[in-house]
């Protein structure tokens, strides 16, 4: 009667034992081969170069892991690569399978030579998705290898390619000619203009003129990047123009302008003080927040506590502009008498900006 259930139980127990053994075997086997792509037995460091190429060009989906491992080994080769090996890397970077593309990307990037730069720039142009990953790897390449190749893309390339080229150039610290910048300023793609704005402090020694123009761009995120860049570049003369963005309809633009004004120091604070009485409540709130984030509000609390009428006046204006909470939090921060205020390395009179 119980023979069938017993047999079933035995079969289940056998399955349990097999999976249990698999846990042990899995741990022990992998422990022997650290650093190798797991589950790939067909290709090892001892595999001849011709066979590596064969494996690296095997397009069958189920062979993708051994293909990636072969690509890695090819890319690690210290001697000059053969034509077939170069072609295998290039083909893999253009493969339909994303895993193969990303595996090839990692393999090629690790070479960090001129060939790698060339292949990665080609990938940047050809990939439809995942260009951020290519850009990440391009960032790791020597500037002298990728710089000239990327600058070539700024001419008539598709907007996405130009965008990423600009991003990488900006992050690598390369400069651009004024002619190139003026052409990019009129680029029809807002993404390109945003990338230009972001990188301008790096691209050009005096970015203020171009950035001020981008502050008035129709697209909100171009204005965001222009404001941030002006803050980063410390263009104090642009503070009034940045302050105008505190009235921008986009929250992100106001936020970026606010942070830029904080970064601009006294010039930013001066503009914030001016906008405390603005008709736009968002501009008033942001202006008050600039005073808080720049530390000016804390200094006002300290000065007001010691009887400074001008500081007391500023506090009253901040209360009027953005409510009591901002001043109350400043008081809580520095203590009612200003005893815990942190002294910034500012040797000028504390309220110099106000006067």
């Amino acid at each position: 009667m119980a023979a069938a259930p017993l047999l079933i139980l035995l079969a289940f127990s056998l399955a349990w034992a097999i999976t249990f053994a698999a846990v042990i075997a899995g741990r022990l086997r992998v422990a022997r081969d650290p650093g190798r792509l797991r589950g790939v037995r067909r290709v090892t460091a001892a595999t001849p170069r011709s066979r590596r190429v064969r494996l690296a060009t095997d397009r069958r989906r189920r062979r993708r892991w051994s293909r990636i491992e072969a690509l890695r080994l090819i890319a690690e080769t210290s001697t000059p690569l053969r034509v077939a090996e170069r072609q295998a890397l290039a083909d893999a970077l253009a493969d339909r399978n994303e895993d193969v593309r990303l595996g090839a990307l990692a393999a090629v990037s690790a070479r960090a030579d001129e060939l790698a730069a060339k292949l990665l720039v080609t990938a940047l142009v050809e990939w439809r998705t995942g260009r951020a990953r290519v850009a990440t790897e391009l960032q790791r390449q020597p500037r002298e290898h990728v710089g000239p190749l990327l600058e070539e893309l700024l001419g008539d390339g598709p907007p996405d390619v130009k965008f990423w080229a600009l991003q990488v150039i900006g992050r690598s610290g390369s400069s651009l000619s004024w002619t190139a910048i003026t052409e990019l300023l009129d680029d029809p793609s807002p993404n390109v203009r945003a990338a230009l704005a972001e990188g301008l402090p790096v691209f050009y020694r005096r970015p203020a003129i171009a950035l001020r123009r981008l502050l008035a761009d129709d697209e909100w995120y171009v204005r965001v990047h222009a404001a941030r860049a002006l803050g980063e570049a410390g263009v104090t003369r642009a503070a009034p123009a940045v302050a105008e963005l505190l009235r921008d309809p986009s929250w992100w633009v106001r936020d970026a302008a606010e942070k830029a004004l904080v970064a601009l120091g006294k010039a930013g604070v001066r503009e914030a003080l001016r906008l405390l009485d603005d008709g736009d409540p968002f501009a008033r709130d942001s202006a008050a927040e600039v005073l808080q984030e720049s530390g000016y509000l804390d200094r006002c609390v300290v000065a007001a506590a010691s009887g400074d009428a001008e500081a007391a006046g500023v506090l009253a204006r901040v209360r009027g502009a953005a409510g009591d909470a901002l001043v109350e939090s400043a008081v809580a921060r520095v203590g009612p008498g200003g005893e815990t205020v942190r002294d910034d390395a500012d040797d000028e009179p504390r309220l110099a900006v106000a006067s």
Binding site: A15, T19, G39, W65, E98, G103, T136, E289, R333
Partner: protein, 468 residues
């Protein structure tokens, strides 16, 4: 005679149910095994070294909702701040805590009061104050009136600045590479991947576990916690990985829930109308995207991204699982219209029916099966040896599923010592006798609680250790 026939059919029904449920478990485990190995290989083949310090890596806002979490919160926040990731911010919302949650945060991170103007996309309970850390400006702490976890997460969402948000529990300690592990597949396809979750370890004191090096981590000595660890591994590594494969991942779990922020804004944020927010939000996102026919992916990964605190007492465990059961009941009932509807794709046709079968029907049928089989043995309808062999077979089947989970875990993470892995494997067959009855009881209580309309949180008391 009629009674005997009825009982006979009931016995057949029990065996039928067991056959269906275990077949589906094993099918899902097989898919999960494939998916787990595939994801691990994919990760190994991909070099993310550049992404760790790249400007092009998408930044993340990490959101904490903390109610009376003075014990774990500081370590939890520290674990996030210690993450190796290019750009992120941490927003902790103290949800009207009545203990020293705010004080311990203030002391540990030198919080300074800051008034922050933010976009109030979601209505929440009033905010009493906002603070920023003087030692790490990435940390913002909000003190607000009590409004529940969902309300707090909505408040944090109002302040979040980045495109992806990660909602985690206040007792969750993240591994140093957790953010990158969570974002890895997002970085591949940010247009489609809108949600990600991943497995966490369970421990009495997560901070001790998280400090142990890879390959030398212990599973908690307490058997109850080891069973919880096994339960998590089975849930994530033999079920959710499979759900991900077919894009019906039904629970982006609150302990580690990554979402694209615009999706949360689109669907209206975290809902305060349910006992717990995570499952409901996942269902809502599925419903929204499937209804509109928009492409999307919600993924569960095999990487252990941290450790969370597990209840050490049976009573606490039952309270926690009871709440989970209530949430499942609430959510499935609220989204019952998706069940079996081709419009909702794999969610409506596979995910939800499976969920109903394994999570809603299971508590009733499991209890009923036990009663029916015992009665059948008592009346001589079922041979005692067959009954015993059936029970032992089920135990072994559970053991196999546990082994598969451990196998996937070790293949992916290489985290625990071999002896601890073997301990988990050996515990697997005993799960049916020692752990499952507790879960069954909790589920039954959860069903009763749901029918009563109970929506209390029933938080278990944090395990005894000093507030940092």
């Amino acid at each position: 005679m009629t009674l005997e026939v009825g009982l006979r059919w009931a016995v057949y029904a029990c065996f039928g149910y067991l056959a269906v449920i275990y077949t589906s478990y094993f099918a899902l485990a097989a898919v999960s095994l494939f998916e787990g190995v595939f994801r691990a290989r994919q990760r190994d083949a991909e070099d993310l070294a550049g992404a760790f310090d790249s400007h092009f890596t998408i930044p993340v806002s990490v959101l904490f909702a903390a109610y009376n979490e003075e014990v774990p919160i500081v370590n939890a926040v520290r674990s996030v701040l210690a993450n190796q990731y290019p750009e992120f911010e941490v927003i902790v919302v103290s949800d009207g805590s009545t203990d020293r949650t705010l004080d311990v945060l203030r002391e540990a991170f030198q919080l300074e009061p800051r008034h922050i103007f933010y976009r109030k996309r979601f209505e929440t309970e009033p905010v009493r104050g906002t603070y920023r850390s003087a030692t790490d400006p990435r940390l913002i702490v909000v003190d607000k009136e009590n409004g529940g976890k969902a309300d707090s997460l909505n408040c944090a969402l109002n302040l979040a600045r980045y495109r992806y948000v990660l909602a985690i529990d206040a007792d969750t300690l993240l591994a140093p590479d957790a953010l990158m592990a969570g974002m890895r597949l997002v970085l591949r396809d940010p247009g489609n991947v809108i949600g990600v979750t991943s497995i966490l370890g369970v421990a009495e004191k997560p901070e001790a576990r998280i400090a142990e090096p890879r390959g030398a981590r212990c599973v908690d000595r307490r058997t109850l916690l080891a069973f919880q660890q096994l339960d998590f591994e089975r849930s994530y590594l033999t079920a959710r990985l499979g759900w991900s494969r077919f894009n019906f991942m039904l629970c982006n779990a609150g302990a580690f829930a990554m979402w694209r922020r615009d999706v949360l804004e689109e669907v209206g944020g975290f809902s305060t109308g349910f006992t717990c927010e995570d499952i409901e939000l996942t269902f809502r996102v599925h419903e929204h995207f499937r209804r509109l026919g928009k492409p999307y992916r919600i993924l569960s990964l095999g990487e252990t991204v941290g450790a969370t605190e597990g209840p050490t007492g049976i009573r606490s465990l039952i309270r926690q699982r009871e709440r989970w059961q209530r949430v499942i009941m609430e959510t499935v009932f609220a989204y019952r219209r998706m069940l079996g509807r081709p419009r909702y794709g794999t969610v409506g046709l596979i995910g939800l029916p499976f969920y109903v079968l394994s999570e809603i029907v299971a508590p009733f049928v499991e209890s009923l099966s036990l009663v029916v089989l015992v009665v059948a043995v008592a009346t001589g309808l079922l041979d005692l040896r067959v009954f015993a062999l059936t029970i032992v077979s089920l135990a072994v089947l559970n053991g196999i599923l546990a082994n598969v989970a451990v196998l996937v875990d070790d293949y992916t993470n290489r985290l625990y010592r071999l002896r601890d892995l073997l301990r988990l494997c050996l515990l697997g067959p005993f799960e049916l006798f020692l752990y499952r009855p507790l879960v069954m009881l909790a589920r039954a209580r959860g069903v009763v609680g749901y029918l009563r309309g109970d929506q209390t949180w029933n938080k278990f008391e944090r395990n005894a250790r000093t507030a940092t």
